[in-house]
C-alpha cells in the first residue's frame, strides 16, 4: 500500500528516525517520532507529529504529513538515537558525546538534560585525546549502553554523571551497533564480521561468546533480537546480506539471505508481530521480510504492495527449531520479500516500526511515514 506513504522534504539528510514508545496498554497507533540529521553544518534533533493535531480538518489529504513540533541543534552527526522513555531521547554523536534530550510536551521544546562528553575517544600517539564517533546506543531505562569507533563499551545510568562501567578496547575494530539480549547481557557487531555477547555482570573485559561470519569477514552494521525468542538474532552486513543467528548453538549464522546491493544500515523485527522483519540499505531500498506461516494465508497488504515480490527459499543448517526464522521445512519454508520503495535513489539510513506505522529517513533529505502498513 505505497499510496499511503507520505513524504516530506526536510532540507537535511536524515540519519535516524525513531517512534516515541507508546505507554503500556496503549491502543492507539504512535503519533510522534524523532529524527536526527547528519553531514550538515548544523545538525538537528527534531520531533514530528503525525497525529491530527493542529490540522483543523480543513485539508483532508494533508492529514498524514508530519508536522514539526520542535527541534534543537546537535553538535556533530547524529549516529544513533533511542527513546529512553516517553520524554527522553538518548543521542549518539560523531564527536563521541552522548546526550540525553528531554522533550517538554507542555510547551513543545527540547532541551539537553544530561551530557556525557567524549564518552568515546581516541588517545593518539602524542597522548592527546580526541573524540571518537559513538556509533550505537541502546536503552533499557535507566540503563544506557553505548559503543563507538574506539572499540569501547560504556554503561551509563540516565541519572548519573559518570559511567557505571567502561570496557576500554573491548573490540580492536569498530563497533557498529549494540542491542540488549537480556537485562544484563548485550550484543555487539563489529567491522570484522563478528557478533559478540557481553555479560555486564562479569568483571572480565572479554565477551562471553563470539560468533563470526565464515570466509570474508564482511563488516556487520546492525543487529536486532527477536522480541519473543531471544535466541534468534538478525544482523545486516556491508554486502547487504541479512544473517539469522541462533545464539544457542554454533558460531556461525543459521542462514544468509541476499537482499540489498549495499550496506544494510538497520534491521528491525516487528516488535509485536515478529514474523515480520524490516531492513533498509545504502542502495536506497527498504525490504519487508515476511515469514508468516502459510503462503495462502498471508495478510492482504502484501498483494497490494507486491511490486517486487519474490519467494525465497533459505538454506538452513539447523533443524531443531520451531521458529519460522529458523525452520527449513520445505513446504513452509518460504519467505515473502517486498521492496517498499519502488523508485529508489539515495540511501535509506534508518527506519522504525511500531504497530501499523513505519517511518524512514533518507539521504535525499526526506522522511516518509506509512501509517497503514497492515491495512
Amino acid at each position: 500500500a505505497m499510496e499511503d506513504v507520505c513524504a516530506k522534504f526536510v532540507s537535511q539528510k536524515i540519519s535516524k528516525t525513531r517512534w516515541r514508545p507508546l505507554p503500556a496498554a496503549a491502543l492507539q497507533p504512535p503519533d510522534l517520532f524523532a529524527t536526527g540529521s547528519w553531514d550538515n553544518e548544523d545538525n538537528r534533533i527534531s520531533i514530528w507529529s503525525v497525529g491530527d493535531l493542529g490540522n483543523g480538518g480543513l485539508n483532508g489529504e494533508y492529514q498524514g504529513e508530519p508536522q514539526l513540533l520542535c527541534d534543537i541543534g546537535h553538535n556533530g552527526d547524529v549516529m544513533d538515537m533511542q527513546f529512553l522513555d516517553q520524554e527522553r531521547i538518548v543521542v549518539a554523536s560523531s564527536t563521541g558525546t552522548v546526550t540525553v534530550f528531554r522533550h517538554h510536551q507542555n510547551n513543545q521544546t527540547l532541551s539537553a538534560s544530561l551530557r556525557w562528553e567524549k564518552a568515546h575517544y581516541h588517545v593518539d600517539q602524542d597522548m592527546s585525546c580526541g573524540g571518537a564517533a559513538c556509533t550505537g546506543v541502546i536503552c533499557n531505562n535507566p540503563e544506557v549502553v553505548t559503543v563507538g569507533e574506539d572499540g569501547r563499551i560504556n554503561l551509563f545510568r540516565a541519572d548519573q554523571k559518570d559511567a557505571v562501567r567502561t570496557i576500554d578496547n573491548a573490540d580492536s575494530s569498530t563497533l557498529h551497533a549494540v542491542t540488549f539480549l537480556r537485562t544484563t547481557e548485550i550484543l555487539t557487531v563489529n567491522s570484522i564480521g563478528q557478533l559478540k555477547i557481553w555479560d555486564l555482570r562479569q568483571q572480565r573485559n572479554e565477551p562471553s561468546q563470539i560468533f563470526s561470519l565464515a570466509g570474508d569477514r564482511v563488516p556487520l552494521h546492525c543487529v536486532d533480537r527477536h522480541p519473543n525468542q531471544q535466541h534468534i538474532v538478525a544482523t545486516g552486513g556491508q554486502d547487504g546480506v541479512l544473517s539469522i543467528w541462533d545464539i544457542r548453538q554454533g558460531t556461525m549464522p543459521v542462514s544468509l539471505l541476499n537482499a540489498h546491493e549495499a550496506e544494510m544500515w538497520e534491521v528491525h523485527f516487528h516488535p509485536s508481530n515478529p514474523d515480520h522483519l524490516f531492513t533498509c540499505s545504502e542502495d536506497g531500498s527498504l525490504w519487508h521480510w515476511d515469514t508468516s506461516t502459510d503462503i495462502s494465508d498471508k495478510p492482504s497488504f502484501l498483494h497490494q504492495g507486491g511490486r517486487n515480490t519474490t519467494y525465497f527459499s533459505h538454506s538452513t543448517i539447523n533443524q531443531s527449531v520451531v521458529s519460522a526464522w529458523l525452520s527449513n521445512d520445505p513446504t513452509k519454508d518460504r519467505m515473502e520479500i517486498t521492496n517498499l520503495i519502488p523508485n529508489q535513489t539515495l540511501s535509506v539510513n534508518s527506519l522504525d516500526i511500531l504497530g501499523p506505522c513505519l517511518v524512514y529517513g533518507t539521504d535525499a533529505e526526506a522522511i516518509h511515514v506509512n501509517r497503514q502498513l497492515f491495512a
Binding site: D77, Q125, G130, N169, I192, T345
Partner: protein, 665 residues
C-alpha cells in the same frame, strides 16, 4: 593561517598579487606577498578577485583581514550561490529524483507516448519549483527580520520567473503545441502567471454587490483579456439583471461571447473548420459594432472591440495585463487564434517599447525559438546552475539540441550538468546528489567525480563507507585505495591497529598491511603479548594479503597452539615459519628464542631432522652477520645464542637416544 596557496604572479601589477587555495567551500582568493621580495603592501581598494574570474562565477566577500600588514582582503569565491540557500535544498533533492527518473526512462517509447512522458517530466519539475516557491513564500511571511523577509521575497520572484520561463519552454519546445492548442496553452500560461490582478478579482467577487463595485468593469475586462469567457458572462449577467433597460444589449454581447469559437484540443475539428467559424463570428461582431449596438455603453463597446482584436482597444487595458506577453497572447486570441508556432516571432515586434529586462529577453528568445539563446540568457541572469542544467537536459532528451559543439568541454548539456554537479559537490551535505549527475555525463563526468570525491572530508567511518561505496560501484580503484589509506592512517594515529588493518584489508593494500603487521610485531616484542587478538585470530583468507600479515597470523597461531599445549604442532609451525621464509629475518631470533621452552620440555618434541634444521637456522642467522656487528651486540644476544646452541645440542642428544630406541624396538 597558513595558506597552501597557488600564487598568480602578475595578477595585479601594483604591489599585491593574488593567490588562491581550493577548499571544500570552493576557492579562497586573497592577496599575498608570498614569494616577493620587498614591495610594501598597499591597502586594497576594491577586490581584484572578481575581475579575474569568469563571468558566471559569483563572488562573495567572506571577511576582510585588515589586521595583517601583508593581506588586506580575503575572498571566498563560490561557483553557485543558490546551492547554499536552505529552502532550495528541497528543490535540489526532489528534482534529483525526477532527473534520475528521466535518465532511466524508456527511450524506446515512440512518438506520442514519449512526448507525453517528457511533458509529464517537465510538469513534475515545475511542480517542484512551485512547491518550493510556496515554502519560500511562507518563510517570507513568517520572517520578522526585514532583511530576511526581503531575501525570501527576492527568492520567491526568482523562482516565479524560473517557473514562468520553464512553462513557456514546455509549451513551445517540449510539447511543441500545434496551431490551435498552442494558443490555449499560452492562455493557460498567462492565467497561471499574471497574478497581479487576482486580488482585485477576489475583492470584487466577494463584495456584497459586485456590479455596484467601482472595479466591476475592470474585472470583466480582466476575464475577457484572459479569455475566461464563462466567468465574464457570469459577472455580466449580474449587471444585466440590474439594468432592465439595456437587457437586449447585454443579451447580444453575452451571445457573442458564448459563440466565440475556441480551438479544440482533440481532433474534433480541423484548423480550416475553426478558421471558417472564426471568420463568421468575427463578421458578426463587426456588424454589431458598426451598427452601434453598444454605442450607449462605452464598457461594452470596448469589450466588443477587444473581441474584434482591435489593438488600440486592447492596449488601453495595459494596466490590467501588466506584461507585454499577456498583451501578446490576448492580441493573438482575438486576432489570430490559429497562430502557428513559427508565426509567433513575427508578432513579437509589436511588443515592448522600453529597454527590456533580462526576463523579457529570455521570453522573447523563447518566442523566437532561439533555444540556445534562452539557455545562455538564463545562465547569465540566474544565480544558479540548477535551472539551465535541468532544462537543457530535458530539451536534450526531447532531441532538440543538435550536437551543438562548444569550443570547450563536450556538449552544452554535459557542460551545464558538470557545472551544476560541481556546485553540489562544494556543499557540505548536497555532494551526494552530485554523484548521479556526473554519472550521466558520458565524456567528463567520471574525471570530475574522481577529482571531487577525493575532496570530501571523511569525519566518520560511516561517511567514509558511503564515499567508498560510491567509488566501488564505479570501479574507481585509485580512489578506493586512497580513501582506505586515509582511514587506515587515521586509525593508526589513534593507535587503533585493528581498525587500521581492516581498512588496508578492504583496499587490498599489501604495503600498508605489512606496515601495520610490523607495528603489531613490534608491540609484541616490547610487551611480550599480543594486542587485538580478536582481530588477529580472525584474519581468515585476508591473511594472504601480505607476507608479513601471513606471518603475523601464523605466528599468533603458534602461540595459540603452544597455549593449548599442542607442542608438536606448535614446533612444526615454528620451524616452518623460518624454513619457508615466511618470517622476516629480523624476527628469527625471537622465533628461535620461542623454541627454547619447547626444547626444554620433559618429552622430546623436535625430531632429529627438525633439530638439525633449527641449528641451521641459527647458524644462518649468526653467520649472516658481519664480524664487526657481532662484537657490537650486547651480551644478552650472545648469551641467547649460547643457550640456544646448548639447548639444541641437548635436544639432539635426547632425540637420537629416543629415535634410536624406537628404531631398535
Amino acid at each position: 593561517a597558513a595558506v597552501p596557496s597557488q600564487v598568480v604572479p602578475g595578477a595585479d601589477p601594483s604591489a599585491r598579487q593574488l593567490c588562491f587555495a581550493w577548499g571544500p567551500a570552493e576557492v579562497l582568493v586573497c592577496e599575498t606577498l608570498f614569494g616577493r621580495r620587498g614591495g610594501s603592501p598597499s591597502r586594497g581598494e576594491g577586490g581584484p578577485g572578481r575581475a579575474l574570474l569568469p563571468g558566471a562565477l559569483m563572488g562573495c566577500v567572506a571577511g576582510t583581514g585588515e589586521g595583517g600588514p601583508s593581506s588586506s582582503r580575503l575572498f571566498v569565491v563560490r561557483k553557485d550561490q543558490d546551492i547554499y540557500i536552505q529552502t532550495l535544498r528541497k528543490l535540489f533533492n526532489e528534482s534529483h529524483g525526477i532527473f534520475i527518473g528521466l535518465q532511466r526512462s524508456e527511450e524506446e517509447l515512440a512518438g506520442k507516448s514519449r512526448k507525453a512522458q517528457l511533458v509529464q517530466v517537465s510538469k513534475n519539475y515545475r511542480s517542484v519549483i512551485r512547491a518550493c516557491m510556496e515554502d519560500m513564500h511562507q518563510a517570507a511571511i513568517s520572517a520578522r527580520d526585514p532583511a530576511l523577509h526581503g531575501q525570501y521575497s527576492t527568492q520567491v520572484s526568482i523562482l516565479s520567473a524560473m517557473e514562468l520561463i520553464w512553462n513557456l519552454c514546455e509549451i513551445l519546445f517540449v510539447e511543441a503545441a500545434a496551431a490551435g492548442p498552442l494558443l490555449l496553452r499560452l492562455l493557460d500560461w498567462v492565467r497561471l502567471h499574471v497574478c497581479d490582478v487576482d486580488n482585485m478579482v477576489r475583492e470584487v467577487l466577494s463584495s456584497e454587490n459586485p456590479s455596484k463595485h467601482e472595479l466591476f468593469w475592470n474585472v470583466v475586462d480582466v476575464f475577457v483579456l484572459q479569455g475566461r469567457m464563462d466567468e465574464a458572462r457570469h459577472l455580466l449577467s449580474k449587471e444585466a439583471s440590474a439594468n432592465p433597460a439595456s437587457v437586449n444589449m447585454y443579451r447580444i454581447l453575452d451571445d457573442l461571447m458564448k459563440k466565440m469559437p475556441v480551438p479544440s484540443l482533440g481532433n474534433t475539428q480541423t484548423l480550416t473548420e475553426m478558421e471558417l467559424k472564426w471568420q463568421h463570428w468575427h463578421e458578426e461582431c463587426q456588424r454589431y459594432l458598426q451598427d452601434g449596438t453598444f454605442a450607449s455603453n462605452s464598457h461594452m463597446e470596448s469589450i466588443c472591440k477587444i473581441l474584434l482584436g482591435d489593438e488600440d482597444a486592447i492596449l488601453e487595458k495595459k494596466e490590467l495585463m501588466t506584461t507585454w506577453y499577456h498583451f501578446l497572447v490576448t492580441r493573438l486570441l482575438y486576432s489570430h487564434p490559429t497562430v502557428k508556432p513559427m508565426e509567433l516571432r513575427m508578432d513579437l515586434f509589436l511588443g515592448g517599447e522600453s529597454s527590456p529586462e533580462p526576463l523579457d529577453m529570455i521570453l522573447m528568445a523563447a518566442f523566437e525559438f532561439e533555444m540556445h539563446q534562452v539557455i545562455k540568457e538564463c545562465s547569465i541572469a540566474l544565480s544558479n546552475w540548477w535551472f539551465v542544467a535541468h532544462l537543457t537536459d530535458l530539451l536534450d532528451h526531447c532531441k532538440l539540441l543538435q550536437s551543438h559543439n562548444l569550443y570547450f568541454g563536450s556538449n552544452m548539456r554535459e557542460f551545464l550538468l558538470l557545472e551544476y554537479a560541481s556546485g553540489l559537490f562544494s556543499h557540505h551535505s548536497l555532494w551526494q546528489l552530485g554523484v548521479d549527475y556526473f554519472d550521466h555525463c558520458p565524456e567528463y563526468g567520471r574525471v570530475y567525480l574522481e577529482l571531487h570525491i577525493e575532496r570530501i572530508p571523511l569525519n566518520t567511518e560511516q561517511k567514509a563507507l558511503k564515499v567508498l561505496r560510491i567509488c566501488e560501484q564505479r570501479q574507481m580503484h585509485e580512489q578506493v585505495r586512497s580513501i582506505c589509506k586515509i582511514m587506515a592512517m587515521k586509525a593508526l594515529r589513534n593507535n587503533r591497529l585493528g581498525s587500521a588493518l581492516s581498512w588496508s584489508i578492504r583496499a587490498k593494500d599489501a604495503a600498508f598491511a605489512t606496515l601495520i603487521s610490523d607495528r603489531f610485531l613490534k608491540d609484541y616484542c616490547e610487551r611480550g603479548c599480543f594486542s587485538d587478538l580478536d582481530l588477529i585470530d580472525n584474519l581468515g583468507p585476508s591473511m594472504l594479503l601480505s607476507d608479513r600479515l601471513t606471518f603475523l597470523g601464523k605466528y599468533r597461531e603458534f602461540h595459540r597452539l603452544y597455549g593449548e599445549k599442542r607442542f608438536a604442532e606448535a614446533a612444526k609451525l615454528l620451524l616452518m615459519l623460518m624454513t619457508a621464509h615466511i618470517a622476516p629475518c629480523s624476527f628469527w631470533m625471537t622465533l628461535l628464542t620461542d623454541a627454547l621452552p619447547l626444547l626444554e620440555q620433559k618429552e622430546v618434541i623436535f625430531s632429529a631432522e627438525q633439530t638439525y634444521e633449527l641449528m641451521r637456522c641459527l647458524e644462518d642467522l649468526t653467520a649472516g652477520k658481519p664480524e664487526k656487528q657481532k662484537f657490537q651486540d650486547d651480551d644478552v644476544e650472545t648469551m641467547k645464542v649460547e643457550m640456544l646452541r646448548l639447548a639444541l645440542a641437548r635436544n639432539l642428544a635426547r632425540v637420537i637416544v629416543k629415535e634410536g630406541t624406537l628404531e631398535g624396538s
